[in-house]
Subunit: 291 residues, 2 copies
């Protein structure tokens, strides 16, 4: 066991192998992660896309998966076939071999757990704990409002993470599943450092902006980008000197995907955010009370 | 992928490694595999013992596990702690590292899925498909009536399978989870052979005998031994010439565990059983109608 609980995947070494094994399970449950109205193909897709995002979070290459499905007794066969269709389509796209699994009864609704194996060159694992003072903090894509649709459609950042790890000296890497502020805290805690974010640099999704405008109850857009779950974007740090070369190379290689430098790692612990009115500390739940 | 769906575990090769990886998931669900009255330690123990039995079925060595638990919203924390206690105790006994997992909500009741990795020397995997005409058929322990208690207490045959694979030239191996007759059929089908069992040699459990005697509704003991699920004993074949040396060595090494030679592999397809009144074919569900 190279890395046990607490990072995006477990990392295992198998004696004399050139590669380490990445090992991850993730479950989606009816009524929690999807509803009776969710198109079945999107349920299956999401069930595999989530652990794929964790393999991306270690800059790993996915390999094989086992799929466990719990079904209520009166399940709809067409719906189950749709789930497998969506799952298998994404598996083909990312060269994942579905090597088995099981179907069992689950009285309360559909429960899907995917166990996924991946690999990464031994000693090349990108963890949460390597961030260093002076590092620039980057995030892919845009953040917030995932529950309005992206949580069923997001692209796991497998290719982007491999490209990053192969060309740049990343210090830390993870995927954002519980919101930028909460997940960045995991990097800070694991690395024993602090950070300062620039409010104006945080890439807010169109959905988060739209819903803040149209609904009185919605979070302010910046709060949504900081605290909404299920973004499944990459969050990473690397030495500031590599920031500009990275942004140039990224734009040439992934012109359709936004990459944002959102702040810097500091020696002083804690997570702070700077906007035009000054610097304030983000509270424990990652939520910042902006007036 | 060396072996995909259809055997006890998936078998994967990782490039230049000396060992192959065994990969298995197994789920237990409240109301199906245990009840609200089952002691929580036994639930956790069973959740891990089941996939351990599948690693044994490949003569593998277990390594690391991820544990997914789905809980209803009003779950009892003490019960969940008991589940983990039972699971962790068995993990220690078999040197399994619990390297993570997740807890999620499952409205209908407790759902536990364990993903388990193991290893086996490359090329030494023992599958279902190697049985040859002339092989003797063996089974460990006693069969039938597992639901009266053994399904919560059974010992996965990890040590026994490793001992067997290290000292004898087994042709096929699996664990019995759906009943001897049904599971032996898997070996026969995968190997393209048939078999003849000796009714008097099949080791019937004390529980199956007791319940047949005390309840008018219970299956006849032999039928229970042939068709009851959750025995989790080893079923294997090897050349007949090794049968007597095996029985001698086994008795010396595992004096407390019964080992029975229950029949022979034949070229003629189908599964037959011989008793004092002659030979009859077992039907598709493995059940034999003995008068």
């Amino acid at each position: 066991v190279v890395v046990g609980p607490g990072d995006d995947c477990a990392v295992l070494d198998l004696g004399n192998a050139r590669d380490s094994i990445l090992f991850k399970t993730d479950a989606v449950v009816e009524g929690i992660h999807f509803t009776a109205e969710t198109p079945p193909e999107k349920i299956g897709r999401k069930a595999l896309a989530r652990p794929l995002s964790d393999i991306a979070a270690m800059a790993g290459i996915p390999g094989a998966a086992l799929v466990t499905i719990g079904l209520p007794k009166d399940y709809d066969l067409e719906r189950v076939e749709g789930i497998y269709r969506g799952l298998n389509a994404l598996a083909r796209e990312y060269d994942v071999a579905i090597v088995g699994g099981e179907t069992t009864t689950n009285p309360g609704g559909i429960f899907i757990s995917v166990a996924l194996l991946g690999k990464v060159a031994s000693g090349k694992t990108l963890l949460r704990r390597g961030a260093q003072p002076g590092d620039a903090i980057f995030v892919t894509g845009t953040l917030g409002g995932s529950l309005y649709g992206k949580h069923l459609d997001f692209e796991p950042r497998i290719r982007e993470a491999q490209w990053l790890a192969g060309r740049f000296h990343l210090h830390s890497l993870m995927d954002i599943s519980d919101g930028l502020a909460g997940d960045l805290r995991h990097i800070l805690k694991a690395s024993g450092v602090g950070a300062e974010l620039h409010a104006s640099a945080i890439p807010i999704s169109r959905e988060a902006k739209l819903h803040a405008r149209s609904s009185g109850n919605a979070k302010p857009p910046l709060a949504a980008a900081l605290t909404d779950g299920e973004d499944f974007e990459l969050l990473f740090t690397l030495p500031s000197s590599q920031a500009v070369p990275l942004l140039d190379a990224w734009k040439a290689h992934f012109p359709a995907i936004r990459l944002s430098c959102i702040g810097k790692i500091h020696q002083t612990p804690g997570l702070r955010i700077r906007d035009k009115s000054g610097i304030r500390t983000l509270n424990d739940h990652g939520y910042v009370h902006l007036s």
